[in-house]
Symmetry: C2
Subunit: 468 residues, 2 copies
C-alpha cells in the first residue's frame, strides 16, 4: 500500500496489486492493464510482490516491467528468485540488465550465485566491468571494498565550474550519485571534494581548485564496512570516498548502503544477544529448519553449561537447610537480569562507538557504583519481603532471621558481582578480537547463575555456622 497525492493535492491510496491479481492478469493476457497497475509503484514494492507470485508467471511478469525499472527490481529481489530470472534470460537480456546495474550490486548478486551462473554473468559483462568485478570480489569479507560503488563523478582541479557541469551532464546517467564529486590528479590520488550544491551556486568560470574542500574524510578499502558507515552517520554525509593504501580513489560508499550496513550490524548484534546465529533472510522467509539450525547450537551449549548450576546445587544441597532452596529461582533470575542490564549496555555502547576497550576502568568504576546502589536497595527489599511476607504473613516458621539475612546479603552480593561480570566480559571479548555481542543475556545468565549459587552457599554457610 502506498499513498500518493492526486492533481488537486488530495491523498489517495495506491493499492499494490496482489500476487493473485497479477497472476490473473497474466493468465488472461491483460498485459497493458497490468502495466498500468504497476506504473506508479517503486521498484522495491514491485520486488516484494515478485517474491509472492507463482514461479511460472515470473518470467512474463519480469518482461512486462518498465525498462528503466528492470535492473532495479532485479537487484531488490532475493537471491533464489534472481537465479531463476537469470536462468530464463537470453545472453542478450542478461547483458542488458547487467549494463543497467551498478557494479556493487552486480558483485552482491554474484556472491549469492552458483558457479555456473557466475560464469554466465562474467561472460556477459564488458571486459572493463569484468576486471572491476574481479577486483571488487577480492576485498576481504565485511570490508569497505565490498560495499563501495565504483561509479562516481571524478573531476580535475583545473576544470572550471562550467566544464565540470558539462562533464557531469555527460556521465550522470551512469553514476550512483552526482551530489558529491571527487577531485583527483592523473594518478587518481584524491585531492578534494566538491558538492553539486557549490557547483550550482558558483560562477561558471570559477576554478574547481578554488571550490574544493581539501579536508576530506575518507575510508580505506580494507577498513571494516561498519566503521565506514559510522563515519557517514556521524558526519551526516551523502557519500564517503574510499581510497586504497596509496591514497588513490577507488570507490565511494553512499548513504543508502551505509544505512543497510548499520541495519545489518544491528540485526547481527540483536541476534547474538538472544543467542541466535544471525540469518540474512527475513523471519517469515526463513524456513523452520533454518531457524532451528540458527538456534539449536546455542540452546544446546547453554543447556549443558546450565547443568553446572545443578551440580553446584546438588553439591550444596546436603549442606543447606531445605527452606533456603525456595529462594534459588529468585536469586538466579535477579542475578541474571542484573548482569544482562550491564552487559547489554556495554555491548551497545561498544557497538555505536561510545566506549572503547581502553575505557575499561571508567566502565568498571561506574558499574561498581551502580551495582552498589542496586544491590543495597534490592537487598533491603528482599529482606523486607522475606521477613514480612514469608515469615509474618504466610507464617513460615522455617524462615528465620538468619535465612532472611542470607537471602538479603546474597541479593546484594549477586547483583554487585553480576554488574561487574556483565560489564567486563563484552570488553574482554572485544580485547580478544571476539564479538562482544555473544557476551549478552544468555551467556551472562548462565554464568551468573553458577556464581550466585556459590555466593549463596558461602554466605549461608557463614551465617548458619555463626548462628546455629
Amino acid at each position: 500500500m502506498k499513498e500518493i497525492l492526486n492533481e488537486s493535492g488530495e491523498l489517495i491510496e495506491l493499492v499494490m496489486p496482489s500476487a493473485e491479481e497479477i497472476e490473473t492478469l497474466i493468465r488472461e493476457k491483460k498485459y497493458s492493464e497490468l502495466k498500468g497497475k504497476i506504473a506508479a509503484l517503486e521498484a522495491v514494492d514491485i520486488a516484494s510482490v515478485f517474491g509472492e507470485i507463482d514461479e511460472s508467471y515470473i518470467n512474463i511478469f519480469y518482461r512486462i516491467l518498465p525498462k528503466e525499472y528492470a535492473a532495479e527490481v532485479f537487484v531488490e529481489t532475493d537471491a533464489e528468485l534472481q537465479q531463476k530470472i537469470i536462468q530464463s534470460f537470453t545472453d542478450r537480456e542478461l547483458s542488458e540488465v547487467l549494463q543497467d546495474m551498478y557494479l556493487d550490486d552486480t558483485v552482491d548478486v554474484i556472491e549469492e550465485m552458483p558457479a555456473n551462473v557466475v560464469k554466465r554473468i562474467l561472460k556477459n559483462s564488458s571486459a572493463k566491468d569484468r576486471t572491476l568485478i574481479n577486483q571488487l570480489l577480492r576485498y576481504p569479507k565485511d570490508s569497505a571494498g565490498t560495499v563501495m560503488t565504483v561509479e562516481y563523478v571524478r573531476l580535475t582541479k583545473n576544470m572550471t565550474v562550467g566544464e565540470a557541469l558539462s562533464h557531469i551532464r555527460e556521465v550522470a546517467i551512469d553514476k550512483e550519485t552526482i551530489y558529491t564529486c571527487y577531485v583527483t590528479d592523473k594518478n587518481r590520488h584524491l585531492l578534494g571534494i566538491v558538492t553539486a550544491r557549490s557547483l550550482m551556486i558558483a560562477l561558471p568560470e570559477e576554478k574547481i581548485s578554488n571550490l574544493m574542500d581539501e579536508n576530506v574524510i575518507f575510508g580505506t578499502t580494507t577498513e571494516d564496512k561498519e566503521s565506514v558507515a559510522q563515519k557517514i552517520e556521524k558526519y551526516g554525509f551523502l557519500a564517503l570516498p574510499i581510497v586504497d593504501n596509496e591514497g588513490r580513489l577507488v570507490g565511494i560508499v553512499t548513504v543508502d548502503d551505509a544505512i543497510d550496513v548499520l541495519k545489518e550490524e544491528t540485526d547481527e548484534d540483536i541476534s547474538k544477544m538472544a543467542a541466535i546465529t544471525p540469518t540474512e533472510t527475513p523471519y517469515l522467509k526463513t524456513s523452520a529448519l533454518n531457524l532451528f539450525k540458527a538456534r539449536i547450537p546455542w540452546l544446546l551449549l547453554l543447556m549443558i553449561s546450565a547443568t553446572i548450576s545443578g551440580t553446584i546445587l546438588g553439591f550444596f544441597e546436603s549442606a543447606l537447610i531445605p527452606v533456603l532452596v525456595l529462594f534459588v529461582p529468585m536469586l538466579m533470575d535477579t542475578g541474571g537480569n542484573s548482569g544482562s542490564q550491564a552487559s547489554v549496555t556495554a555491548i551497545r555502547a561498544l557497538s555505536v562507538g561510545e566506549i572503547t576497550v581502553r575505557d575499561v576502568f571508567l566502565v568498571l568504576w561506574k558499574e561498581v557504583r551502580v551495582g552498589f546502589l542496586c544491590g543495597v536497595s534490592l537487598g533491603a527489599v528482599a529482606l523486607g519481603k522475606v521477613m514480612l511476607i514469608d515469615r509474618l504473613l504466610l507464617g513460615n516458621e522455617a524462615v528465620t532471621i538468619a535465612v532472611g539475612a542470607s537471602v538479603a546479603l546474597t541479593v546484594f552480593a549477586t547483583i554487585f558481582t553480576a554488574k561487574i561480570i556483565g560489564a567486563s566480559l563484552p570488553l574482554l571479548a572485544k580485547r580478544l578480537g571476539l564479538d562482544p555481542a555473544v557476551m549478552a543475556s544468555p551467556f551472562i545468565t548462565t554464568l551468573v547463575d553458577a556464581v550466585s549459587l556459590i555466593i549463596y552457599f558461602f554466605i549461608s554457610a557463614g551465617l548458619f555456622g555463626l548462628t546455629i
Copy 2:
C-alpha cells in the same frame, strides 16, 4: 583523530587537539595557533572536545570558532553546554547564531531548555521564525512534525529549468537540502518532486511540469517519526516530503535525521530488551545515579515476579523427590533461553516491519515447528546426559529412568511452550498498543521459569504416580 590526505595524496593523521592543549593555548592567549589547529576539523569533532574542556574556557573557545561553524558546533553540543553558551551570549550574538540554525535544530534546543532561556530564544528570533517555531512545538511527541525541517526548495510547475536553477541559486544558502525540490501549487499542495540531478541534466528551457515525478511518496505531520524514517530507508531517499492532512507541504525529513531516528529507536528497543528504561545520554556521560534509576524499577519488578517461582517450588518441594531439584536450574535456564530466542526474533521482525500483528498465525505455526525440533533434540540430549553422565558415570543411584524421563519430557515441553509464549507475547503487546520490546528476555524468562516449574511438577507427578 581524523585522517586526511595531503597534497600528494598520502594519508596523514590529523590529531584532534586535546582538552588540555586547548585550555593551555587559551590561557596563553595563543588564539591564532588554536584557530589553526581546529581549522581542518569537522563541527561534530569540535563539539565533542567542547564537552571536555573546563567551563571557564568555553566562552572564549566558542568565540574562536570559524564563523561558519559556530551554529553547527552549537547544535552538536549537549543541552547542558548549550544552556551555558546561551547564557554567555549577548542578545545580538544569540540572534546571529539562531539565524544560522535550521528551525528543526532550534526546536530541538528549545525542548531541552528552561523557560527563561526559551523566552530569550524566542525574543531573539525573527517574527516569521517565531511563528514557525511555535507551530513545530505543537506537533505530538515522536511525530514526523517534530523532526522535519521547514527549509526546503519549493518550485512551481510552470517554471522552466533555467528559472528553477536560478531560484535555487538564490535560496540555496538557507535550505537544508537542494537535491530534492518540491513542486507545489499556490496553496502549497504538493504536486510532484524534481531532483537536482534531473535539473542539471535537462535543457534550460524545459518546463518543470515535464520533469517532475508526480508519484510522490510522502509522510504526514502526525505520522510516527519511525515510520517516516523507515520509508526513507526502504526507498533509499535523501529526503521525504511531509504534508498536513490537507495535502499541503509543510516540511521535509532528510536522510541524516532519519538515520538518527532509526538509531534512537534501536537504542530504545535494545534497552527495553535488557529491562532498562532508555536514557538519551551516552553511557559514560550518564551518572551512576541515573543508570541506577534506569535499571532499578525493572530489577525490582522482576525480582518480585521471580519470587512466584520460589513459591511454586516451595509448594511442590514436599511432593517432589529431592533429586529432581538438581535439574531445576538447567530447566529454568533452557526454558528462558528458548523463549528469549523466539521473543527477540519477533520483536526485531516487528520493529523493522518484517511482520505485523496480522501475521500472528504464520508466526505461531513457524514457532510450533521450530519449538518441536528444538524440544525433541534437546530432550534427547538431556535424557542422554542424565542417564549416561549423572547415573552411569557419576553413579548417582537416585537418578532413575523415571527421573531421566521427567527431565527429558520437561525439557521438550518447556522449550515448546517457551517458543510459543516468546513469539506471541510481543505480538499481543503490539496488538494492545504497548511496546513489544518490553516482552523480551527478562520478562519472558521470569514467566517461563514459573511455567517450566509447573510443567516439571505435573510431568514428574504423573510419571512417579505411574511408576512408584
